[in-house]
């Protein structure tokens, strides 16, 4: 590391202060945001941090000139935050940043136009990220992590500032998405409800006015909530929106959307095309067995796939969706038997002995007696996955000659 002189440190700090002050005076939002991204470890901020750690008396510099009086409330704690971040004191860094953020929000309120919106986005992002790191530090020393919760409260304040009639309101969706990330991380997703209600019912907001990037993120999170709540048609609609409008170069984001969209689509009988699974190969490893099971009518494969990835599926909330696929797999199995019988003797194909199904299941290592098979057959018919009837005395299921296996057509299986 190069030797840093006091004079050089002094110079860097003054230069930053001048730049900050100019940028605010000229209402230059995109330059301002670069001065605020504490966690980014940009060359500018790294070199500033080193200067601050050497020249501790920077507050004196702030008081020296009238030029800096407007920004000192923001910059003083911001300096402390940057300084501490460099030293790895994440709790102190967060606490200082929170002060700076609050001071920034106060000024932001007074600026009439929306020139500083991008800078505000950076503040919103940074407060969340710094809070997460502060909480990690707290947890590592056995204390209760509570900073992310605090960041959430700050973000609600920001939302309140943006929820007005002026041009600043287009920023509300970005802040909403930061809030979603906070609530999902904390596991307090029920808190999402009130922001969602504000976005979707308040007359000041027109969803179409928001930037596409924010709309995609919003639909992704609200889609995930619908998955948790088992509202699959709504989940399908939202996650599909996110997929269609997502920047195709953002592969990581597409993978995240597909992680939830695929199980939802499977539950309404839509199988993803192979190329889709191959392109985003993370998905392939977890879902390809499920898809195979559906295509082959292989119950054993489905059960194993669910077992092997149980933890992952449970954590992401898609386990119960995937469990529901069982009936479709049974349908597929019976259909395969039907097709095989049709090849041997088309006139008798529509009559399937229950014993044959028992044997097929045994071959798949599933132990089921005739009574249970009869039960499954009757449920398939009852829920319109099969057309026909079962004859109890002759232990046979008789399929309708026309369209015996109706498709789901995008609707979930009848409950």
């Amino acid at each position: 590391m190069a030797y840093l002189s006091m004079g050089e440190a002094h110079r860097r700090i003054t230069e930053y202060l001048n730049r900050f002050s100019d940028v605010v005076l000229n209402q230059d939002g995109s330059s301002l945001k670069q001065l605020l991204s504490v966690s980014s470890n940009s060359p500018l901020l790294l070199s500033l941090a080193d200067a601050l750690n050497l020249f501790h008396d920077y507050n004196r510099l702030l008081k020296q000139s009238d030029r800096f009086s407007q920004i000192s409330e923001i910059v003083s704690p911001l300096f402390r935050s940057i300084q501490n971040f460099r030293l790895g004191n994440l709790l102190d860094s967060y606490n200082a940043f929170e002060k700076a953020a609050n001071a920034f929000l106060q000024e932001f309120r007074n600026w009439e136009s929306a020139w500083a919106l991008e800078a505000l986005y950076v503040i919103a992002y940074e407060i969340r990220v710094l809070a997460e790191r502060a909480d990690r530090e707290l947890a590592s020393v056995g204390k209760t992590p509570e900073k992310l919760k605090g960041a959430g409260s700050f973000l609600m304040k920001v939302f309140g500032v943006l929820a007005g009639k002026g041009p600043k309101r287009v920023g509300a969706l970005y802040v909403t998405c930061q809030l979603f990330k906070v609530y999902f991380k904390l596991g307090t997703v029920h808190l999402c409800r009130s922001v969602i209600r504000s976005i979707e019912t308040a007359r000041i907001f027109d969803f179409e006015e928001f930037p596409v990037r924010d709309k995609v993120t919003y639909m992704y999170y609200t889609g995930r909530l619908e998955v948790f709540n088992e509202n699959f048609p709504a989940a399908d609609q939202k996650l599909s929106y996110a997929l269609t409008h997502c920047n195709p170069h953002r592969e990581a984001n597409i993978r995240m959307i597909l992680k939830y969209l695929i199980p939802v689509k499977l539950s309404v009988g839509v199988l993803p095309k192979n190329w889709l699974l191959e392109k985003y190969n993370l998905i392939e490893i977890t879902y390809s067995n499920v898809v195979q099971a559906l295509k082959r009518g292989d119950l054993r494969l489905l059960r194993h796939a669910l077992q092997d990835h149980e933890d992952r599926f449970l954590r992401s909330g898609v386990y119960l969706v995937l469990e529901k696929l069982e009936l479709q797999v049974y349908q597929r199995l019976v259909k395969k038997i039907y097709i095989i019988q049709k090849q041997k003797d088309p006139s008798k194909a529509h009559q399937i002995k229950l014993e044959v199904i028992v044997k097929a299941l045994k071959w798949l290592e599933m132990d089921m007696d005739v009574d249970e098979v009869e039960c499954i057959m009757s449920i398939l018919i009852y829920k319109n996955l099969m057309k026909g009837y079962f004859a109890h005395k002759s232990k046979v299921v008789v399929l309708s000659k026309q369209d015996p296996f109706p498709k789901l057509n995008g609707k979930p299986v009848n409950s």
Binding site: K324, E372, Y389
Partner: protein, 327 residues
């Protein structure tokens, strides 16, 4: 409690269990139990008003022993214990006590609510039944939620409590039925936070399988698995859904069975896990008629046009194999 005791004696606000020699205006320190107070303001509460843990434990034991009392109708016993245990929980939460004894107490109170849930079913002909039943269910859910929070907060490293798997399984079983969010939070979300060791327990495995069978409509497996694997408390929670599942089975047999192969009652009884005697009244209650052949064998003719089911109407027919749970 002295101030409260004197006031309640004056107002003759004493439950049957609290009366000295049956006198509605006289009680004693050993008989009187602190009532639940809805409008308690913590700033007006003094330390002396709140009972310490050992007293609460003793009180709870006393109350739960009353459950076996034959002297009074069950609803009276239930009402008393319902209110007084709620007061115990109030005192516990005001002191914010989180330890093994509290966990044990909450487990006992959950058990009380589950047993009530079962016993109150036999009181269905009394007025107020459905509101008493509903309120009991509400407190059961509140108790469970508090208990789960206690498990989490009192946990050290990765240990689990001995009863935790069974008590967690109750939450899953409460999701049987079409009410998708009985506890105000999605089941998926709840499951995503449950520790791995609990998820892999037998009790949770049972509950999740049962839920899967229910949602799929696999009535055969649902009834068999319940009969062979449910613990007593699990059974009491599942109980209200058993007739619903049986009705589904009947509906399936009726609408999907071959019209020329009427379904023998003997077989239906095995399918529904019901005594043969009970099958005919059950079918009739669903609007289905039973026919008899020349040899005297009874059958259910399929494709009958009328079928209806309402879960409020039915008595509980016992589940074959679990008669010992029906007290």
């Amino acid at each position: 409690m002295t101030g409260e005791r004197a006031q309640r004696e004056r107002l003759r606000d004493l439950a049957v269990f609290e009366r000295l020699n049956g006198n509605p205006g006289k009680t004693s320190p050993t008989l009187a139990v602190k009532k639940f107070c809805r409008t308690i303001a913590t700033k007006h509460t003094q330390a002396s008003d709140v009972r310490p843990l050992p007293v609460l434990e003793e009180t709870l034991n006393y109350l739960l022993n009353l459950l076996d009392s034959m002297e009074h109708p069950f609803e009276v016993v239930h009402d008393f214990i319902f209110d007084r245990t709620r007061s115990i929980r109030q005192d516990l939460s005001m002191q914010n006590i989180i330890n093994d004894q509290t966990i044990h107490m909450y487990e006992e109170m959950v058990k009380f609510h589950i047993i009530s849930h079962h016993k109150l079913l036999t009181c269905s002909n009394r007025p107020n039944f459905s509101s008493v039943h509903y309120l009991n269910m509400e407190q059961l859910k509140k108790c469970l939620t508090s208990l789960y929070a206690l498990y989490e907060e009192n946990r050290d490293s990765n240990s689990i409590y001995e009863n935790e798997p069974e008590f967690r399984s109750f939450h899953v079983l409460l999701h049987l039925g079409s009410n998708s969010q009985p506890l105000g939070e999605s089941l998926s979300l709840w499951l995503s936070h449950v520790p791995s060791a609990i998820l892999k327990s037998e009790e949770m495995f049972f509950a999740r399988r049962l839920l899967r069978f229910f949602r799929m409509g696999n009535y055969k497996r649902f009834l068999c698995t319940t009969a062979t694997e449910a613990s007593c408390l699990q059974f009491y929670i599942i109980e209200p859904y058993i007739n619903e599942v049986r009705a589904l089975a009947l509906s399936c047999v009726n609408s999907c069975g071959y019209i020329h192969h009427p379904y023998p009652i003997a077989h239906l009884s095995k399918l529904l896990m019901m005594k043969e005697l009970d099958v005919e009244p059950f079918c009739n209650a669903c609007g289905l008629k039973i026919s008899t052949d020349e040899q005297g064998n009874k059958f259910l003719a399929t494709k009958q046009k009328i079928f209806h089911y309402s879960k409020d109407v039915f008595p509980s027919y016992c589940l074959l194999g679990l008669e010992h749970f029906e007290r």
